[in-house]
Structure formats: structure tokens, C-alpha cells
Amino acid sequence: MIEAKNISKRFGKFLALDNLGLKLESGECVALIGPNGCGKTTFIKAVLGMVLPSEGQILFDGKDIRGGNEYRRRIGYMPQIGRYPENMTVRQVIEMIKGIRGNSQEPDDELYRHFEIEKILTKKMRTLSGGTTQKVSATLAFMFRPDVLILDEPTAGLDPLAAEILKEKIIQARQRGCLVLITSHLLSELEEMVSQVVFMQEGRMLLHKTVAELKQATGQHTIAKSVIHLLKEGRQ
């Protein structure tokens, strides 16, 4: 569904993505992991067209994403740090995104209800705490029933209850055939959700395996331990 072909991205001298090739199919839940600054967020932003790769191309359903922006209608994106117009209220932001998307489909308001967004509708985005902003981001990402979910550190900053609700929602989305791309440092959390693991380091993809393959290759029983095993290996 999403295919990255040898993409590289340079920020000045710094090489954020180094000849990255990756193919992701629908119905999978892919964990994108790696140390800080390894290019996870840059890759995600490249898929969304917010960062333009210096070389290579990204295909969405076989079509180059530079060919148009309509493919983004099928993506729900939850950023790591949600940046919203400060003076807008939660209601205005939600209404605006609905207006911009202009979907005729009935919006998915499950997270809206579970996160009790209604109580904060009149608050300005500026006044929201980090966790509450994340709740708004999550609600918006799931609202339009997208085929692809891109979640950048979705549970960071959420309280345990909210994190649990979100996890349920992610599992549900995958079951209905969504492609879920998720980055997280909370490895234990990924355990119940992911089916594939992509490990990145210094802008390069080191491995792309299913969870079973990964566990077998590293001889560990959990994703968390496998990844730590990999990290330690990488350092030597």
C-alpha cells in the first residue's frame, strides 16, 4: 500500500534518511522503532508529503505521492507533538478539519465520546495540556475512518486509561483492514498490537521482519527484549 523507494533526505549536511526502501501492506500493524533521531518522524513526514525527499520516491497504492494530495484523504495522522493554531478552540479545530475534508461519510466519534472531548470543546488549543492535545490529535486521526493510520508516539503523554482506549481502537482498526504505522519507545505496549517491526538506525532501515521472525532471530520472547538485544548489538 505504501512503498518507499530508495528515499534519502538531507537537512544541510545531516543525512536524516539514507537510501531507505520499505514496503508496507494493508492489514498490518507496523512498529517503526529505533533510537532517537534515527529518522522515524522524518520518514513519516515524507509519507505525508510534509518533508520532500532529496532522492527517491514514495508510492501510495502504486502512485507517486507527488502526483496529488487526494491520497491524504485516506490517511489519519497523529503527530508526536500536535501543533495547532493557538487561538482556535477545540470545537473550531474539529469543525475546520471536517470542513476541509468535506467527507460525506458519518464521522467516527468513538474516541470523541471516550475521551470526553465534549467537555473541552470551548477551550483554546493553547490552554490544553500535552495529554489533552494528544487526545484531540487521536480523535482527529480516527474520525474519518482512514485506510492508513500513521501514529507518531501515540501514547506518550496519555494517562493509562486513555492509552488503553487508544490501544483498543488501534487493534480494532487493524482488524478492519487498516494499515497502521506506529512509532513508540514504550516497547511493552507494542506487544499486543503490532505484526511487523521495522528497525531504523541513523536513517537506514536495518531490518523489516514479522514479530515471529524477529523473536526467532534474536532468540527472545518479547518484542521489547528483542529490540534491546538489537540495540546492544548495534552498539558493539
Binding site: K45, V51, E70, R72, Y77, I97, I100, R101
Partner: protein, 255 residues
């Protein structure tokens, strides 16, 4: 683009500064016209407003507004919206509100107190200057990511066009006063939208006689309908070129 424009327009309206700007312009214009019994004197004081304050307000407010819109831009960029549509919508929203404020504050009193021809030229000049400096604000926004530097660049551009440029031209005039400098003077003034507007308006007011031989050459080159058309064409280019450069760069920018 229209859908995005709606939210930009709402946001600018909510900001209220543009409304205050319109009211202050109106207060100034109405009071100058009612204090002076000679409308021409009123027009001259309005001229300085059009040539100095309007560009300053336009370039400063727009630059800050565009920098503050970074979150808005980022938010929309992850949804199915064309990048160019976002950029054009912000431009259209700002241009619309700045021009409307100018029309309300200065245009209306001008139409009432000044002769129609003069009023129309002044209104066209003021509106175009608003949009030209808006366009320069977009350009300075694309030159740097740093807000303070961006605002600095915008102010430098204003200083250059409103004050510095005249100084340079005057200096050149004195240096080369023994040569026929009139033709180069005409060309030079075409390079500065503020000067171009000043000349257009002064020619209408028939004070160009005070500018001596140079004034006569100006009258010859700008006073004809051809001259007028070319001047407005040049002013139009001042709107389009900086904005197009910024648009091309914005499309390639990493958000």
C-alpha cells in the same frame, strides 16, 4: 482554496487588528478633510499616509501573521489540501482584508472629498501598495525560518523602499547632475513601487511643475495613458513576482 480561505478570513477578522487599522485610517482621513478647507492639502497629507503607513502596516502585520500561521499550515498540510491552495488562501485573505480596510479608511473619504480622477488613482495606488508589501512579506517569510529575522527583513525592505531608495537616487542625482539624468531617473523610479505611486499621484495633483525639468520628463513619460498603463503593469509585477517566488519555495519547503 475557497474552503481554506474561509478559515483564514475568519481568523483575521477575529484578530481585530485589521478592524482597528481601518478605523484609525478613517479617523485620520475624515479629520484631515474636515480640518482643511482646501481639499488638495488634505490629499497631500493622505499621500504620506498612503506612501508610508500603509506599506508599513501591510508588511509588518502580514509577516507576523504568516509566521504565526505555521501551526495552521502544518495542520492543513497533513490533510488533503494542496500546498499552493494553503499559501494562496493566506495571501488572498490578507490581501482582501488589508485592501478592504484601506478602502474603508481612506478610499471612502477620498471619493467624497477629492475629485474622482485623483481619488481613483490614489485608491488604486494605496490598494496596490498594500498588496505589493504583502507580497514582499511572503517573500521575506520564505527567506528565513527565524521569526525575528523574518520581521527584520520585512522592516529592512520597508526602510529601503520608503526611505533609503530616495536617498540613493538623490545621491546619484547630485553626483551626475552634469549629465542628462532625467531618463535614468524615470527608469530608476520604476524600480521602486513607492516612488512609482508617488509620481503617479503627484502628476495628478499638478504639483509636478515644482519638480522642474525632471518633473516635465516625468509628465511626459507617466502622464500619458501609455505611461499610466506601464506604471500599473510595473506595480502589478511587484505584486506577482515576489509572491510567485515565495510560492515556488513554499511548495518545496519541509514543514
Amino acid at each position: 482554496m475557497i474552503r481554506v480561505l474561509k478559515y483564514v478570513a475568519l481568523d483575521i477578522l477575529k484578530n481585530k487588528i485589521i478592524i482597528a487599522y481601518a478605523v484609525i485610517l478613517a479617523l485620520f482621513s475624515w479629520s484631515t478633510f474636515s480640518l482643511e478647507d482646501n481639499a488638495d492639502k488634505g490629499i497631500l497629507s493622505l499621500l504620506s499616509i498612503i506612501l508610508m503607513t500603509v506599506p508599513l502596516m501591510s508588511v509588518l502585520f502580514s509577516t507576523i501573521y504568516i509566521y504565526n500561521s505555521s501551526e495552521f499550515i502544518e495542520l492543513l498540510a497533513s490533510h488533503p489540501v494542496k500546498r499552493s491552495a494553503i499559501w494562496k488562501a493566506i495571501f488572498a485573505g490578507l490581501a482582501g482584508s488589508l485592501v478592504l480596510a484601506f478602502l474603508f479608511g481612506v478610499g471612502l473619504p477620498l471619493l467624497l472629498f477629492a475629485g474622482t480622477g485623483t481619488a481613483l488613482i490614489m485608491i488604486a495606488a494605496g490598494s496596490l501598495l498594500s498588496v505589493i508589501f504583502l507580497s514582499l512579506a511572503f517573500l521575506s517569510n520564505m527567506l528565513t525560518r527565524d521569526k525575528a529575522r523574518g520581521i527584520g527583513i520585512a522592516l529592512m525592505l520597508w526602510l529601503y523602499f520608503v526611505l533609503l531608495f530616495d536617498g540613493i537616487v538623490l545621491f546619484l542625482f547630485f553626483q551626475f547632475s552634469e549629465y542628462p539624468v532625467e531618463k535614468p531617473a524615470v527608469i530608476l523610479s520604476g524600480l521602486n513601487p513607492v516612488d512609482l505611486c508617488r509620481i503617479l499621484i503627484l502628476l495628478r495633483l499638478d504639483v509636478s511643475a515644482m519638480m522642474g525639468y525632471t518633473g516635465a520628463v516625468f509628465k511626459q513619460s507617466f502622464g500619458t495613458s501609455w505611461g499610466l498603463m506601464i506604471s500599473f503593469l510595473l506595480l502589478g509585477l511587484w505584486v506577482i513576482i515576489p509572491f510567485l517566488i515565495s510560492l515556488v519555495r513554499f511548495k518545496r519547503k519541509d514543514l
